[in-house]
Amino acid sequence: MRVALVGNPNVGKTTLFNALTGAHQEVANWPGTTVEYIIGKVRSGAAGDLIELVDLPGTYALTAYARDELVTRNFLLYEPYDAVIVVVNAASLERNLFLALEVLELTPRVVVALNMVDVAEDQGITVDAAALSRRLGVPVVPTVAARGVGLTELVAWMERIGGREVVPINTWVVPYPEELREVLDPLASQLAAAAPGPGIALGAGDTRARGLTASPVVAGAQPAAGVGRFRPEWMALRLLQGDEEVTREVRVIPQGQAAVQLALSCCAQQAGVQVELGNQALALEPAVLERLRAQHEEFEMRIADAKYNHIANLLADCVRRDPLAKQTFSERLDKVLLHRFWGYPAMAVVFFAAFWLSFVASAPLSDWVGNGMGWLGQLVAKGLAAVGAPTYVQSLTVDGVFAGVGAVLSFVPYMAIFFAIYQLLQDSGYMARASVLVDRLMQGIGLHGKGFFALVSAYGCNVPAMAATRVMENHRDRLLANLVIPFIPCNARLGVMAVMTAAFFPGTRGAFVMMALILISLGVVAGSAMLYRRTVLPTDPAPLLIELPSYHVPSMRNILIPTWHRVWMFISRIWMFLIWATLLTWALTYFPMGAPVGQSYAAQVGHWLESVGRWYGFDWRLMIAILFGFVAKETTLSTLGVLYGAGTDGSLGHLLTQAMTPLVAFTYLVVYMLYVPCLSTVIQMRRESGSWRWTAAGIIVNVAVAFGLGLLLERVGMVFGLQI
C-alpha cells in the first residue's frame, strides 16, 4: 500500500513522515529536476510495515505553474497510490483547507491530519475535528507530529482508506454557485459520456515515462488512485480553468476534442466573443485568444472564490477562536528580528554563528580526519616497507590512496555541521525571514532573496552552498545563484590567500589586501549576476511570495535525518571523482620514476602551461598549483611546498617572495580566488543545474573572468609601475 503526504510548506509533513517511518527511508530523485521526494516504510500498526509512505514537497495548490509544485501535482495525477494524507496546520486552517479541497476533488481517498493543534491551542484556536470530518466527508485526525500525538489513529485510518473502505463523497466536493454549475454540469456530463467507467485515463497510461516508481507497490494490489485516471468533475474544473496540460491530454482521448470545444465556447460566450470554433481552436487570432485566456482566469478566480466561501462556512461551524490578549511568541520575536534597525545586526549574528560553527569550529575535526588518514597511510606504508614492497607502491598508498580518501572524508565534518545548521534555520522559521530582509538588496543585482544564505555560506564551501540554492523554487533563480557561487572564495581558498598575503604584504597592508580581494570578489559576483540577468537569463527574480511561519523549536530527529541524507548523498557522489583525481595528480608528480619533481610529468605539463602563465608572470610551479588546486583547493599549499622545495618549517612564504614580485603575487591571488574552485563544485553544479551545458558555460565564464581580470590587473599595475 502506498500513501502520499501532501500539504502546504512547513505544516509538518516531514516531521510526521519521520515520526512514522523512523530511519527506514530512502531518497529518490526526479529525473530532470533537483527536487527530491523521500520514501519510507511505516513500522507501527497492525499491518504496519506494508505501508509505503511518500513525503512530497510542500505546495499551496495543484496548478501546473511553479516548476517544483509540479512534483507534487505529477505524483498525485499520474503515480499509483492508495491514499493521501493531507497535512493541515490547525492554526491556519482557512488557507490550508484550500489544498485539501483541491486534493479531495481529485480523489476521495484522503485522510486529513490536523497537525499543530498545540500551536493552535496556544493561539486560542479550537478545532472540532469530528465536525470537520463530517463536513468534509473524510476522516480528520488531530495530531502533534513533533510529539508523536495522534499517530496510531492516523495509521489506522490510512489502512482503512487505503484498503478501499471509502465513503463516496459529494460529486462536486465544493458547492459551486449556480452560475458556475450551469457551465460545469454539461461539461462534466460530456466528459463522463466520453469515457464510461471508473474514471477517464489521461496521458495514455505512460506513467513510467514520468519518472518515479523507485520501488514497486507493495503487496501486489492494484493501487486505487492516481495513475492518470480522473473523475469527470475534476476534469471539467480543470478545463474551465484553462489548465494547459489537462486540455492537451483531453484532446487526444476519444470525444475529448468535443469537451475541450465545449469549455472554450463557454468561455467565448461568457467573454462575449463571437467565434466559430472549428476543430483547430488554436488557430484563433491572438486578440481573441487573449480574451479567452482572460475568461479562463476569471473562472479560475471564481472557482477559488467558491472554495474559500465553502471553507469559511466550514470553519464557522468547526472552529472556535478565543481572542488573545497577549501577543504570540512569534510576534514578540519578530519585533526584534524584523526590526527596521535591529533586524540586520541580528541577522549578521545568526549567520556569523552559523558560519563560524560550520567552517571554523569544525576545522579541528577536519584536521583530525585528515591527520588520522595520513597516520593510517604511514602505518600501512611502514607495513608495506616491512614486507619489501617497492617504493612506488608505498608512495601510491600514502600520497595517492590515503590522501584521496582523506580528501573525501575531510569534507564530512563541516558538511554535517553546515547541513544541520541549515536545517535548523529552515525548520525554525528564521530562514524565510532572513530572505525577506535581504530580498531588496539581492534584487538589486538580479538575485532572489532566498539565495542569500547560499551566497553567504559559499564563503565556507561552495559545494553545500550550491545545495542550499534549492530553496528557491524558480529554476532560473537557482541556476543564476549556481553560476555566480564559484566566484566566492571558500574557506580553503581564503586559507591559501591568507598565507600568501601574509608573506607578501606583512602587517596592516595585508589586511587591506585581503579586504581588496574580498571586494573584488563581491564586485565580480554582483557584476556577473547582473550580466547573466541581462543576457542569458532575462527575467526578474520570481515573485517573492512566501509565508512567514510561526517560529518552532525543531526536533533533533528532524535535523539529523536530512543532514545524514545530504552528507551521504554528497559522499556517495563525490568519492570516486576525488580519488581518481588524487591518484592522477600523484602519478603526474611521481613519474617518470626516480626523476626529481622538476622533471616529472607534472612539471612538463606546467612548462607547457607556462606559455599562458608568462603573460602574468606566473612560473610553471604556480600554474601547476592552479591546475592541481582543481582537485581540492586544500592541497594548494602542500603542492606549492613540494614544488618550491619548502620543508615543513614554514619557509614556503620566504621562498615565494623570492620567486615573484608583489604585483605578480597579487595577480595570482585574484586569479586563484576567482577561478573554478574545485572538482566537487563542478559536480555539484552539474547536479543543481541539471545540465552539463550550463555547467560547462558557467565554468568557461568563470575561468575567462578569473584570467581576464588577472591580466587586466597585471597590465594596469605595470602601467602605473605599481609596487603595492
Partner: protein, 78 residues
C-alpha cells in the same frame, strides 16, 4: 471606501481586496495563498530599505514585494 494599492496601505490598517492584476501565474499564486477578491488582510509591517511587505491574510503571515503589492488593489475597512 477608499481604494488604494496594497503597497500604499498604512501599517496595521485592515483592508478588503478589490482586484488583482498581473500575469496569470502571479494571480494564481495569490489565490492559492488566500489572497482573493473580497478577502480581508492587514498590513503588519514594511521591511526596511524598501523591502517586502508583511501581511496577514486568512490567518497566515505572508511577505510580498512592494512592486508585486502594487498589483493588488484594496479598499480600507473601517
Amino acid at each position: 471606501m477608499r481604494t488604494v494599492r496594497l503597497s500604499q496601505l498604512s501599517v496595521n490598517a485592515e483592508a478588503e481586496v478589490q482586484d488583482l492584476a498581473g500575469p496569470p501565474q502571479f494571480r494564481n499564486r495569490l489565490f492559492s495563498l488566500g489572497i482573493t477578491p473580497r478577502s480581508r488582510l492587514v498590513l503588519v509591517r514594511r521591511m526596511p530599505l524598501g523591502g517586502p511587505l508583511e501581511i496577514e491574510v486568512r490567518g497566515t503571515r505572508l511577505a510580498i514585494r512592494r512592486h508585486d503589492a502594487d498589483r493588488v488593489w484594496v479598499s480600507v475597512v473601517g
